[in-house]
């Protein structure tokens, strides 16, 4: 046996051999039974010095494993998960993605604003028309000119905000489906609805809220 080779084997056993030499020796070790027997004795010496008492040094474990492995198909490493080089198309989509997202969000917001304004416009006109029926600008109620009538102040009416879903309908919906929501959430939502009602339709803020009934519904079996 080549002494230099044995010296390298000893260093490789201690993980002290340079990688390039390790590659070459690993190839030889896997093919040379005599070299592997020496490798085994190095392991037995190591186990003895370290007092690895549990291990029987003449154990046939390696042979048993070798027999079991012989019936196994050879392992083939899965391809390494190397980071794929991004294509220019992929890179372009990555750059445009945030801009596209912002544009989409902006268009949705604009559509929502326009829809709400369009939906609210007739109601506002109706309120104004009801507040001053038959009164036109520059003409008094009795048909005289503004110059003949004393100055008066017109208190502008509060324009009622119309929500997308009428609050009463929403409240009814929440009450009807109370079994699917927690009491705290129901109370919060209904309080918000009542508050919005008080601000727009003149409902007193101190009015009795229907939340107690809702809670009772939640407690009672449906």
């Amino acid at each position: 046996m080549n002494e230099e080779l044995d010296s390298q084997l000893s260093a490789m056993f201690d993980d002290e051999l340079p990688a390039a030499q390790c590659e070459l020796l690993a190839r030889r070790l896997s093919r040379d039974e005599e070299l592997r027997a020496r490798w085994s004795r190095y392991a037995a010496i190591s186990a003895t010095i370290r007092a690895e008492g549990g291990a029987r040094l003449n154990a046939e474990l390696a042979r048993r494993v070798s027999v079991a492995i012989s019936s196994e198909p050879p392992v083939v490493a899965e391809p390494a998960l190397a980071p794929a080089r991004p294509s220019s198309r992929w890179l372009g989509s990555r750059l445009w993605a945030p801009i596209g997202g912002v544009a989409l969000a902006a268009s949705v917001a604009a559509s929502a604003i326009l829809w709400v304004r369009f939906d609210a416009a007739p109601a506002d006109s109706q309120v104004i028309a009801q507040a001053a029926p038959g009164v036109t600008v520059g003409q008094s109620a009795d048909g005289g000119s503004l110059a003949d009538t004393p100055a008066s102040y017109v208190v502008p009416k509060t324009i009622a905000r119309r929500s997308i879903v009428p609050s009463t309908q929403l409240a009814n919906y929440v009450v009807a489906h109370s079994e699917f929501s927690s009491p705290v959430n129901r109370r919060t939502l209904l309080s918000a609805l009542m508050a919005s009602e008080s601000g727009t339709a003149g409902v007193p803020s101190g009015s009795e809220e229907p939340t107690e009934d809702v809670n009772d519904d939640a407690k009672s079996p449906q």
Partner: protein
Amino acid sequence: MSADVSDLSLVRRVQSGDKGAFDALVRKYQHKLVKLVMRYVRNPAEAEDIAQEAFIKAYRALPQFRGDSAFYTWLYRIAINTAKNAVVSRDRSPIEYNIDRNNDANEESYDMQGRMKDSETPEGLVLTDEIRRTVNAAIEALPEDLKTAIVLRELDGLSYEEIAAAMDCPVGTVRSRIFRAREAIDRRLREVFEGGLGRTEDLG
């Protein structure tokens, strides 16, 4: 020196379909793994069975091994899990549960189950004992510098560089001393086998 480079070179060979390289890994770590498993089971034969199962599982899982951790660390985890599962399944079995209590009656039932391994034969035990005595005697007979180098390496787990610093000599000298110490011990060890107590391949 980067750690685990020798194991990785063997692992890469196994991953390219070389089963002989896996045999080298098994031979290197079999004692260590059996000792590890014996923290969970006291019976050496059972520990070897579990270690064998762990090695086979490791072989099957090697395609997924990327080398993110050291090979032995990865193998260690497989062995621990295998041992824990074995203990759980054994505890569910009345016979195996009794064996764990380790009294005479249960050892008898163990034999009746035909689970006695060849490695538990008196010849096997004598050989193991002879190997230990031979190695220890060979170490005692080593020149002081060789003995210090091999003990610092094997017992204290120091790297060649650390041993070189401790012994105030070049790393190359440390490598040479450790190699010569191993060769001296190995020469005595081969005599044991060639003397008829066993075969070299019995070392696994």
